[in-house]
């Protein structure tokens, strides 16, 4: 890498970029802002340690995610990625609620107009909606579990 110029990390840190620079493959000089964010949030030393702890074939993904988190934190210094997680969880609750409401309308319609069953799907047992509801509730509970205690 050094024969073609320094990587963004070494440029930022104003140091020589060695041939085996661990950061060079993931922080090319074409995107200096990305490393600037990573350095501000995690620090070059921590990022280097984090990448060293990961198998080489996964380092690109790790660097990508670390950059994502750093940029999220720069854009939202209070909540960072957790703000995005919260928004997604709220969105899931909202869509889930709309699904339940729509399925309630279906069940009500079935009850009010039983003669209008014209397709096999419509003649399904209303309890299938309950089992779908339970499955979605289970999915939502597992989402909350995965989202941690925040």
């Amino acid at each position: 890498m050094s024969s073609f110029g320094r990587c963004a990390a070494c440029k930022y840190l104003r140091r020589k970029c060695p041939q085996d620079c661990i950061l060079a493959p993931y922080f090319p000089s074409s995107n200096p802002q990305r490393f600037a964010c990573v350095h501000k949030i995690f620090g070059a030393s921590n990022v280097t340690k984090m990448l060293q702890q990961v198998p080489e074939h996964l380092r690109a993904e790790a660097a990508e995610c670390i950059s994502y988190e750093a940029i999220a934190r720069v854009q939202d210094p209070v909540y960072g990625c957790v703000g995005i997680i919260t928004q997604l969880q709220q969105q899931i609750v909202q869509i889930h609620s709309e699904i339940m409401k729509t399925k309630g309308e279906m069940v009500a319609h079935h009850s009010a107009h039983p003669q209008h069953h014209t397709s096999p799907q419509q003649q399904g047992d209303p309890s299938q909606f309950i089992s779908i509801h339970q499955q979605e509730q289970n999915n939502f509970q597992s989402d909350k579990h995965l989202s941690g205690n925040f």
Binding site: N46, E69, V82, I92, E105, M106, G148
Partner: protein
Amino acid sequence: MGGSSGSSPCASCKLLRRRCSKDCIFAPYFPPNDPHKFAIVHKVFGASNLSKMLQELPVNQRGDAVSSLVYEANARVRDPVYGCVGTISYLQNQVSELQLQLAAAQAEVLSMQMRQQKPHLVEQDMETSFHMAGDNFNSISHYIAVASNLSASVIQDPLKIESFST
């Protein structure tokens, strides 16, 4: 909120082996009875970076910032490759699946309403309702495809995160 009471240094000053001053920036958020909390944040972000981040925030927002940083640090230690981003991907998939379910349910309700309103025109209106349901489904599918492309591009190019998160 001031620094430690003087009887016991906060968890950060204990770990960093320094005197815990009255105006220690970490003391309100890292009590001595929970050393793991600071240890993990220090491991991922570093005390110096953490201190700078907190100094840039109003005091009333620092508690939330610390909580979210602790969460992210824990996620990164549990999953050194994906960290929090793994959770974000999972939730995005959940959103996509639920949106598909909602589109399907809404299409079904629409076709039921069409049949109920004009039962003598069932055949014609079934076709219309399926087209309308298909349009709804296609528009939702298009939205999901756009959202998926946007989120995929966010993962590939984090600089687009601003448009994603708003």
